[in-house]
Subunit: 195 residues, 2 copies
DNA sequence: TCTTTGCAAGTGAGCAGTCACTTATTAAAA
DNA sequence: TTTTAATAAGTGACTGCTCACTTGCAAAGA
């Protein structure tokens, strides 16, 4: 019986959740299977999280502090809008690629939709992403590099489709996919939209 | 005890599935709740479909014969590429708007992912949409109205993000949303990408 | 009549979460 | 530096519940 600190176990549990979702599918995400995957008893899971829902909420918090912080820093930096847009897209897609399962988890929870708090959390994440992209586009217009007639909010919605499209593609065609090339091409297309 | 032909009940059941998903969330899609919603006993459901999975597969078949037929007709018509792109986008989004719940159903099933056949069906649908869009773009290039340097497949992926983005938006912000305006704006942005 | 459609009351499996109890680790007292 | 007590981490059987699906029987309608 190996014993570990609760901080360590919490990380293991959250990692296992994403692993199960990405590799076995959402329907295999039972506390039983989760415990088995870590090599722990089912009861022990509930030592570290008071409910399954709490695990999901904790993962959402991670997204908010990891991904969103990164994206916020990029969007609000002093660099030219063009560079920020590029960095933003690459950071965004790379995060989703490294943490496969996150998008599925987030949207499955939103689709299941009985949990108001979870829905709010997701909305908060997406609204901020939309806002940050809108800001970059707005700044680019002020710099004079992009078309002033562009509807900023709709352009941001178009942007948000990219990570979604990416995730669908990776879920359905597991990994036969060059991430860097994908980002590079999408960046080029986005520049076309804006100029 | 009202009795109806199995064909009629099948339609009622499938409509109820989409209704539950769109208005109560995926987690409420139990055979119990489904029966209750139609005003039927649970057992009667299984008179008309041999399993819950079969209901989902039947809905997918509907998508394939309704939406895909429509999109195929548009994409393969003799009209100018520009018009086809516009019609395609509008038909696509309108279908998803009228049949709310379809996208959630399709992607939730893909995320749950233990069912190879369901995954294949979804992949087939998306692959055809991608192909049709690719064709429209290709034709537009030949007509000389669009930039020949555009990567057709990636532009198609960017397009596919639009219905996804649309669905996320409608799930999270129930209907405070002008569909026509959304389509119009997205169409404009797509033209920017291509020219 | 006899096939089709319906209902009520099942079934077993799987679910999240709990509980009484055990064991490892830490730290204070002897 | 041991001994001892407190606590953190783990176990696995069990609970109540929901799930998809089945069964046996009733009644409608061709």
């Amino acid at each position: 019986m190996i014993r570990k600190k609760t901080e360590v176990r919490k990380e293991e549990i959250k990692a296992a959740v994403l692993d199960i979702i990405a590799n076995e599918g959402f329907s295999m995400l039972s506390t039983r299977n989760l415990a088995k995957r870590i090599g722990l008893s089912e009861g022990a899971i509930f030592r570290h999280f008071k409910s399954k829902r709490d695990i999901i909420l904790s993962i959402m918090e991670d997204v908010k502090s990891d991904l969103q912080d990164k994206l916020r820093n990029i969007a609000l930096s002093a660099k030219p809008a063009k560079n920020r847009l590029r960095e933003f897209l690459f950071a965004h897609i790379n995060y989703l690629y490294k943490h496969q399962g996150i998008t599925i988890l987030l949207f499955s929870e939103a689709a299941h939709m009985n949990d108001v708090k979870l829905k709010l959390q997701l909305n908060e994440i997406l609204m901020e992403q939309k806002l940050l992209i809108t800001k970059i586009i707005h700044d680019g217009k002020k710099e004079g590099i992009w078309n002033k007639k562009i509807n900023e909010e709709n352009a941001a919605l178009l942007y948000l489709g990219i990570p979604l499209s990416f995730n669908v593609e990776t879920v359905l065609n597991r990994n036969k996919f060059n991430v860097k090339e994908f980002c590079e091409n999408m960046y080029k297309l986005l520049l076309n939209v804006l100029k």
